[in-house]
Symmetry: C2
């Protein structure tokens, strides 16, 4: 007897799931012995269901899916943390297995929901919540578990990677790149979740939780977006041998977990530096496996639906064979989140300063005062309105020292020109 599926949400990804079932249902049975049947579909848009030819399965109320005793697996694809929270928790309470692509939900209520699934002896799968179609939760939960994972780092937001690629390759400004991304459907009218780094923060919270077997929620992730990046920083990065990327980074350290999202200068020869346009990639280092990377489309109907349906088929295989959930909630270690102030890395600092004698001495004195040691300093571009662009690269310094130095520079008379703010970019070696 077929494993029965109910789908909540019929947007881009939901539509992709319907398309996959139509295209490959017969192969799933022939190749893998997995027999699934989509029996109910719910959303706010009956016309989306109609467009995918499943009007007959449509119900306007998702509770009809949750209360249907024949349904084994509920797919939640409505997004957000309000109604989706109800769908997922009510489905688990009603004894359904749940597959979701909801990064905000998992990065906010992950532990609560994983615990509920564990108590209910039901499966909760969320491969599509990170990296679109790229298999990464699966490898972390299976192939790689013989390792202690020490670093997970990725380009997990396609919108900003597209924008940064265009700023780099076509010399666009931030505003031009955003307008182009919006025109191409890669960015929302309100782009904040992407450009301010919140989308990436949710994803790295999920990845860090699974990779390090601990609980990281998105509000614990230090998050900085790409709004302040300019053409001059892109060009200087390249000159210095770096790509400028919005990276989501999680490191397992002796004293806890470091987890952050910010623009990062990455050596051009690093595999992640080669990832361009809307593609995503996740870099993962384990103590035995060494360096690995997973690359693919981070968004789009087909890619995300591939990940959702991969989860659905795996759960359906278990339902058919009467297998209870195998891994449960693996995020039980209670590791500390290391405060951002304690970060130690190299920094790129871009100051627009008065083109006058004494400015260099003043800034140098401030760096020295906070123990920040400079490895390179250069003047970029031409003098403009009595101001010049100065770029510093530091040796390893603490985030706290850099912040104090930057504040001192801002508040010291006669250094910064034109009411500018210093640009601070962390450098990953």
């Amino acid at each position: 007897m077929a494993v029965k599926i109910g789908l909540v949400g019929t947007g881009t990804v939901g539509g992709g799931c319907i398309d996959i079932i139509k295209a490959h249902k017969e192969e799933f049975l022939r190749h893998y012995g997995i027999d699934i049947e989509l029996v109910a579909v719910s959303s706010l848009n009956p016309e989306q269901a109609a467009a995918h030819g499943v009007s007959k399965l449509f119900t306007p109320d998702f509770m009809n899916i949750i209360n249907d005793p024949d349904i084994d697996i509920v797919i939640e694809l409505i997004g957000g943390t309000t109604v989706a929270h109800t769908v997922v928790t009510e489905a688990l309470k009603a004894g359904k297995n749940v597959v979701t692509a909801n990064k905000a939900l998992m990065a906010t209520y992950g532990v609560e929901i994983m615990e509920l699934a564990r108590e209910q002896h039901k499966e909760l799968a969320f491969e599509a919540s990170v990296g679109g179609g790229i298999p990464i939760i699966g490898p972390l939960k299976h192939s790689l578990i013989a390792n202690k994972i020490t670093q997970i780092m990725g380009i997990v937001n396609g919108t900003t990677n597209y924008m940064l690629t265009r700023m780099d390759e076509a010399g666009l400004s931030y505003d031009e790149a955003l307008a182009e991304a919006q025109a191409n459907g890669f960015a929302e009218a309100n782009p904040s979740a992407d450009v301010d780094g919140f989308d990436a923060a949710a994803k790295i919270a999920i990845l860090a939780s699974i990779a390090f077997n601990t609980n990281v929620s998105m509000d614990q992730v230090y998050t900085e977006g790409i709004r302040d990046l300019s053409a001059i920083d892109m060009a200087t990065a390249k000159e210095l041998g770096y790509a400028l990327k919005l990276l989501a980074i999680a490191n397992l350290k002796e004293d806890g977990v470091e987890v952050r999202v910010h623009p990062t200068m990455l050596p051009l020869e690093h595999q992640l530096a080669q990832v361009k346009g809307v593609f995503n990639a996740i870099w993962c280092v384990g103590d035995f496996v060494g360096e690995t990377m997973y690359f693919g489309e981070g968004a789009g109907a087909g890619a995300a639906a591939s990940a959702v349906m991969g989860d659905v088929l795996e759960v359906a295989r278990h339902v058919q064979q009467g297998i209870l959930p195998m891994s449960g909630n693996t995020t039980k270690d209670e590791l500390e989140i290391i405060p951002m102030d304690e970060l130690s890395t190299k920094y790129y600092l871009h100051l627009v300063v008065h083109d006058q004698a004494g400015v260099l001495a003043k800034s140098a004195a401030i760096f020295a005062n906070y123990g920040v040691s400079i490895s390179a300093m250069m003047q970029k571009g031409k003098q403009h309105n009595g101001a010049v662009d100065l770029v510093y690269i530091t040796h390893h310094a603490s985030e706290k020292a850099i912040r104090q130095a930057v504040e001192d520079i801002v508040f010291t008379e006669g250094i910064l020109a034109n009411n500018t703010r210093p640009v601070v970019i962390r450098v990953q070696e």
Copy 2:
């Protein structure tokens, strides 16, 4: 009660497995509830077991492991297709689950062994047989199964990738690159399995079998190595915007499976072109997921042991929970292998010809005669001993036409100089 493991083979990878168990046994239990215990070790070298501190578990006869009723999982790491075949089949017949890293065995006797495992209701896992530590069999058997996979293509031999990287970046000749690889321990004294492409052929046979759900054995893979590549071809490739890589390629076509290993010119901006040194990467295209890539260390104790132990832990999880094998032999479709003659691609042809009037006309007439259309022709380097290097790039042509044209060129008087053979390299777009 712990799941009991017997290890046959204590070389590099076997040693890595012992190290992983020692390092992380306690975490496997705490994080995943998986309780494993290494109870027996066998090989021809008791001193290797001693070096890893497991002398007490050593037995010189692997049949003691196979006949031990307490052992649940046998790890086969002796390699080759003779004794290893006995170890694997006898272990399955004795009711053990088997984990192996043996590419030659799986690429030669894969179907027989998978069928035996199915009949015995036991698991057979072989992630480490392809791509070292890179999770690829796992993703193909789980996360990606919602897709029809249409292409799988990879750099799956680290030795040759190291050599080609050194030829490219340091301008080494083939012989110099081989000597250096041997000095660094990346190539065997007899390098044939690597440089002639057989290692890569075994791996692509396994990947094609799993990705396309059919049976491909390594003797069905068209295989060409890198012995004929020269500095002039490396340099010309780069000038034309290509990297020269030994690629293993499998394509699913309307009329069957195309599967081959040969030096390939790949656009420099392709993700695979960026993979350097001993690293491996596998490119996989699915109808919904689109383009994905998996990158990591293709060899080495830690990486391969990570893959072996990932399999061991997964099987142990099933043993603990009394779960029968879930996927079985999925290679049951009987797809045709498309004859190499029917390949259609672009070609790079490098001829050393007499520097005389009429030579161009003669070769052009031969290409025209076989319907091979030329997209570019250039003279490389200087005239030497009355000869010059000519490079042609063709439009799409059939392998058969190219071979016929090349044979005609070889046997036509007055074209090729100095008894040279044309160099033919396929171009991947």
